[in-house]
Point group: C2
Chain length 182, copies 2
Amino acid sequence: MAHIELNNDLPGIRGLMAYRPETEKPLNALAEVLLRDDNNTLSRGERELIATYVSYLNDCFFCQNVHGSIAGHYLNCNIEQIDKIKADFSETDLSPKMKAFLNIAARVQIGGKHVSEDDIAKAREAGATDIEIHDVVLIAAAFCMFNRYVDGLGTWAPQDRMFYVNRAPQRAEEGYLGSVFK
Amino acid sequence: MAHIELNNDLPGIRGLMAYRPETEKPLNALAEVLLRDDNNTLSRGERELIATYVSYLNDCFFCQNVHGSIAGHYLNCNIEQIDKIKADFSETDLSPKMKAFLNIAARVQIGGKHVSEDDIAKAREAGATDIEIHDVVLIAAAFCMFNRYVDGLGTWAPQDRMFYVNRAPQRAEEGYLGSVFK
């Protein structure tokens, strides 16, 4: 049960957003532009994977399963493959550029000052542009917010991971704008 | 110098927002509703103080000085008084409710799961409402994002703390919507 009375039985961030629509709007607008905007050289799957990895590092069950399932949907991966990336992405067949991004995301998760010139240089060597580096840092930072919001208020989450997998195609289609009302 | 070429010389988050107006909009909208919306039983000064404290815990020089100066402006405190709150709020004459909120904010800064039922109960005993607790958690979480964004991309910040103090009245008047263009 959440730390506060939400007056709804929606899980995770959806219960919080229904409770406080004033803050729901900019939060969803941020998720939409960061994770789904078509004007981006990072695919939706790549961006969802960064969100998933940060949520895993922050141990947020709801977010890592919501976004891990959507990443799997876009990238044609199953749960086990997403779990392997979370456990040790360096041992997977992800591209060097994606590995450099997940490394930067992990630094951001610890704290902004942990991102080094060397981390940035490795991403550039793998072909990353400045705007991609910007977006990776902001996606990672944003999930340090979303994860804390979800767990800081003690929200509940369905424990069956297939719940998230089964809903992923619909979530991918709907996007984040106004999703709490659907 | 920032980790990426921003094509402007604006400090801190302002340089990032001018570089990427697509993400600037929801970020500023979030700051505006969380820190300034009049329909809130927490004062603007109280909300800026929570933002300041989390930015201090995250060691973000730019954010803790911007928001510390705005908090000082609203609360009629000088830099030294804000510094005392940051160093040990329990030893100040802040209200028990505000102390309970800063305690919750500090838990959120470590991680969402660090907020305990006891932390919430202490805030309630001091008179906190559910929506206030919600907003405190989200303000703290949001600054875990803003701080990581600012430092994760290696932005520069004026080192003279009076720069922030002198600009605070104008920032308080302008608000956060579209402030990068002013």
